[in-house]
Symmetry: C4
Subunit: 210 residues, 4 copies
């Protein structure tokens, strides 16, 4: 086993992470999508192909996407299409140049944790647990919230709203929630994004059960 | 690892799926049964033998069943009998020629999700989650329900009721529920049916806990 | 993988079952104990040694116990002692000559399922689920209950009460519950006992959450 | 597989335990820390490096810490720092010479189990379950509680309060809880501490769901 997901080729790492998250029931059916900024060309990123079961990905199930324009730079399988939620990943990489990985998971806990938030809530308050430190908040009784977005059929609409709100007010934590649709989490490295997914899901599990 | 369960021999794939679902506690004891339409002879299908623990199946633990008549076409072990719920699988393959796999699992979540439905309910309303898209419903706030059937000691009675209702009204989704007895899910391919089982169980987990 | 636990040497099978149940959190710490009647000498049985973590057993972590008298017939490690609950297993093998395996697990679900039973209850009613068929009850709406015993510090006291009650009234199912102490399940074969543990734990999970 | 974690080099054992606990969701993100007293020099102990994901540790991810003074005796990687909670482990080894391992895990269950305790509670009462015996309490209806400490941003403050309270009154069990921060458990051997973590988490799961 490698010491960190960042020691691996990004596509190898993302396929391993997908298998891991699938095993934890965070990527049921073909849900969820994972991406990593390209190392040599930071103006592009790898993202999972659309419609594939996440427990069985291999390195060729990723497409390289241009950061500026909505186009595929590299694909390995004829007909492969990028994840339907590519637009959300693009916004995160465009807004935050230090971000190199973005992971969207879709758990029952995350759906339950926001189920009691009114439809127009724009944030999900987090419990004041020690675990919050893993999201770089160092306070004894942290009072923080995750940005919360309504779900829409049209993903570019969600992406546009994320861009608008995050441009006006940078997010307090490196994660966001979409109603009925799970968490999107990012980090400076694959390992950091992976660790933060675990932390966000820990908090979702706590909220869902509290 | 193969890229899709459909890359494998169907019996190999079904044995792997059984092991996977057993690990998730969806096939306790000898519960549940899995089938796939025969590729060369679509008028027959493979189904799990009756009474076996699903975590330890091999390729010889399947029987081939004729689609038209209630008879075994092929068996590998003397005395092996087809699943007690073969009649339900037969109805699904007869009614839906495009269906090539049918998977019945039996989870605590599915039992809890319907526990509060009155005994005479004929459907289980689903929550309006993004995950519903995995069942081919593309709406922003999907209002859909799974067909729900009463459990009976006599399986052919259940099968007959499924045939009657589905002939009158095609099911809105490729799955049905039986009271206290879990979900039956089908798809055009083994991988599609497998993905949909995950989605249905995700929804059952949400309902059981909501 | 073998096709059934009964294809293996009983001690090999019990060590594998212990690892499996430990992974499912049914044998935390050193809790639980597993036994199988000796095949050549049915007046003796193998049982787990006392005080060992169940995720790491090997074939030498079992002792052979005489059925009639409280004595060790065979041991592999100096100082190894039979499980503190050997007396309960002995009663089961003595009362039911057809039983060849007896498995005691200790889950959170089982503790929660009986938590609301009054301290003097002598049975735990089961929900009328299809899963009950796996315990050989073939009714459309089964009304059955598991025998329930109070926990005592002195295990021979528990064993004596089991003998007294089961001699007066044979148990309706091949399992019993002890308050705050989990389920004991038996079967004609190792595989049957294993399958029934899964079924009983399924029912405990349902009751704990219902 | 070794028969006991104590048959292994302590760092190998701790890395395996970390992987195991990570898989159970008890060490999300980089949470938790594990230590073992040095066998040749009992005035020092190995502890996990700070800030690493616990599912991917190797033998070089541990530092050796002096028991008397706050200094690193041995490290394998430049820049590696000892766990932020090293001060708590030091107190346990200083107060209890018979203790050779100390494991801090961080579960959702443990956070939920104390969530309803007032902020100034100094103990968490445990349920009277058989499982309590695994913590060396042999009573028919055990009435015991785990010491409970408030969480603080400054770990040496927590460590000082543990020292103060445990010096005044030895803890009744080999474990303590910190509000919103999980369980710290110790034992005479690695295997004993590991077993007790399982028992404490069993009790936390019961309390969280009861």
């Amino acid at each position: 086993m490698s010491h960190s997901f960042d020691d691996l080729d990004p596509r190898t790492a993302l396929a391993q992470i997908a298998r891991d998250f699938h095993r934890r029931e965070w990527m049921a059916g073909t849900a969820g999508n994972l991406s990593a900024r390209h190392r040599q060309d930071p103006n592009s990123f790898w993202i999972t192909a659309s419609g594939l079961p996440k427990g069985r990905l291999d390195e060729e199930d990723f497409l390289r996407i241009d950061l500026a324009e909505d186009q595929v730079v590299e694909r390995f399988r004829d007909g492969a299409k990028p994840s339907a939620e590519t637009a959300i990943h693009r916004v995160i990489y465009q807004l935050f140049p230090e971000v190199n990985a973005c992971l969207h998971v879709h758990s029952v806990d995350a759906c339950l944790a926001v189920a009691h938030c009114p439809a127009d809530s724009t944030e999900l308050p987090l419990p004041p647990l020690e675990m919050i430190k893993g999201l770089d908040i160092w306070e004894e009784r942290p009072v923080v919230a995750l940005p919360l977005f309504p779900n829409r059929l049209d993903v570019p609409d969600i992406a546009a709203e994320i861009r608008r709100r995050f441009t006006a007010t940078p997010p307090p934590l490196s994660a966001l929630m979409i109603h009925g649709h799970g968490a999107t989490v990012w980090g400076r490295s694959l390992q950091e994004a992976y660790n933060r997914v675990e932390i966000v899901e820990f908090l979702m599990s706590y909220l869902a059960r509290a």
